[in-house]
Symmetry: C2
Subunit: 149 residues, 2 copies
């Protein structure tokens, strides 16, 4: 990772203070757990994982509420919406990228194409549209699953 976790946590504290929110044990624990959980995750997994910790870190409600804060802060984002599932990604310190999603095995491949970003900017200009964020999902079969058919 580009950014140290301790540094990220400090920035998150800054963010909370600046917004008039409180720096609580749950919030700091959660950003820590999410960072260590792995790149992609779903809320339910996180709730279960967090519930199985020795000491209670946060309840389901708090997880949901903190997820929103972390999105606002910019440490995580919804990257894949597949059927009724929402997959989040820990993006702090990571450059922007898009995803290839294997609909058979669930594998997620990240990629970045500068030209695609540029073309998007051009489209936005054409329509006088001010982009805030975007998401490009390519669903299909990964190499292994395609050859297994």
């Amino acid at each position: 990772m580009v950014m140290e976790l301790s540094e990220l946590k400090k920035e998150f504290e800054q963010f909370l203070k600046q917004k008039g929110y409180k720096v609580t044990k749950s919030r700091l624990e959660l950003i820590d757990k999410i960072a260590k959980y792995g790149s992609h995750f779903e809320i339910e997994q996180l709730v279960v994982w967090v519930s199985n910790q020795d000491k209670s870190v946060a309840s389901r409600s708090t997880v949901y509420r903190t997820i929103k804060l972390l999105q606002e802060f910019g440490a995580i984002r919804e990257v894949i919406k597949l059927g009724n599932r929402t997959i989040y990604e820990f993006i702090a310190g990571k450059p922007h990228h898009e995803h290839l999603i294997c609909v058979k095995c669930g594998k997620i491949i990240e990629f970045y194409k500068e030209e695609i970003e540029e073309l998007q900017d051009r489209v936005c200009e054409e329509y006088n549209f001010t982009p805030i964020n975007h998401r490009l999902e390519i669903f299909g079969l990964c190499k292994e699953c395609a050859s297994a058919v």
Copy 2:
């Protein structure tokens, strides 16, 4: 629209028969209603609209079940996933395109950039990934909403 609705309904009938499904009144009525509903819609809207028709067209369950069939058939697709909402689009006879979504007023602008498609194909080749479909959503502010800030 490029394709006639009557022709589309015939193709849908073909599709149903081929799959061993039955051609029912509800299914034909629904493809008709959706085609006439307008480009983008959410299921709840459709259920309400369909419920308000003189003669009952289909129940909520049937709407949900038929939506899945129509996706399989290829007449509609999930085009925008925003928060917990899913916006579908009637795509039969329409060329592929992507969307700009105004997060303030909800306006949806369609666009198509051949180069973006080509670049995606190239990425897929690089990763030996077999694409099935994709979705590019650019969230931001439309011209009107941006100037109103």
